[in-house]
């Protein structure tokens, strides 16, 4: 499991690719396909553009189950 805290300047979509890349031990641009082919990054970011107290967005990406938490932090676990 890899959890990447999402500082103010890091949008959830960017936190997702950073977290998955870290878990895969590759650079973010080595992940294929691009995130936009799996989930709409703009939609993901706009869901979290104001503080939320609950809720989670979960999807599969590159063999991982990715959860974006209400806090904006990202949890990545091997899918399966």
């Amino acid at each position: 499991m890899t959890e990447v805290p999402s500082p103010d300047r890091l949008e959830p979509s960017q936190a997702v690719v950073e977290a998955v890349a870290t878990a895969e031990d590759v650079s973010p641009r080595e992940l294929s396909p691009p995130l936009a082919y799996v989930v709409d990054p703009d939609a993901l970011d706009s869901l979290f553009d104001r503080p939320r107290t609950d809720g989670v967005v979960r999807f599969r990406y590159c063999g991982y189950t990715v959860s974006v938490l209400a806090s904006g932090s990202v949890d990545v676990r091997t899918a399966g």
């Binding site: 641009r29 691009p34 995130l35």
Partner: protein, 135 residues
């Protein structure tokens, strides 16, 4: 089968829908402005595009942009903006060769020329100044 090569055949309504969605984002407008302003026909390496975008933001010369700054910009170009522009059929994107160009269709260039502001970075900087100094 919905392949990327089928995109040019999308109808006018779908083209406009995707175009307006893609233009709703400032980063994508900047990308298109950069591509629209190029006279060279050959595709632009994504690395160069990233450098130009960073330079545009700061009103600085591309030569002052470090590799590290351009590199971090490329991450969301690859994961968000270029896929969206490609799906909207406004750019050609060679994902493995990491090159982009404006889609070679007249209506793309015409629509963008009509819709994109000439120099958004200057305009928004001016707006900010006005916003802070006037009531």
């Amino acid at each position: 089968m919905d392949t990327e090569s089928a995109r040019p055949e999308m109808d006018e309504a779908e083209f406009l829908e995707r175009l307006t969605e893609t233009l709703s984002d400032p980063e994508r407008r900047s990308i298109l402005r950069v591509l629209l302003d190029r006279s060279a026909a050959r595709p632009l390496p994504v690395e160069r595009l990233a450098t130009k975008l960073v330079a545009r933001d700061r009103d600085a010369a591309p030569g002052t942009v470090t590799d590290e700054q351009a590199d971090s910009r490329r991450t969301m170009l690859y994961h968000c903006h270029l896929p969206k522009l490609h799906r909207a059929a406004v750019i050609d994107w060679d994902r493995t060769g990491e090159r982009v160009s404006l889609a070679d269709r007249p209506r793309v260039r015409d629509a963008l020329s009509a819709l994109l502001p000439d120099s958004e970075s200057h305009r928004s900087a001016t707006d900010r100044k006005w916003g802070s100094s006037s009531s």
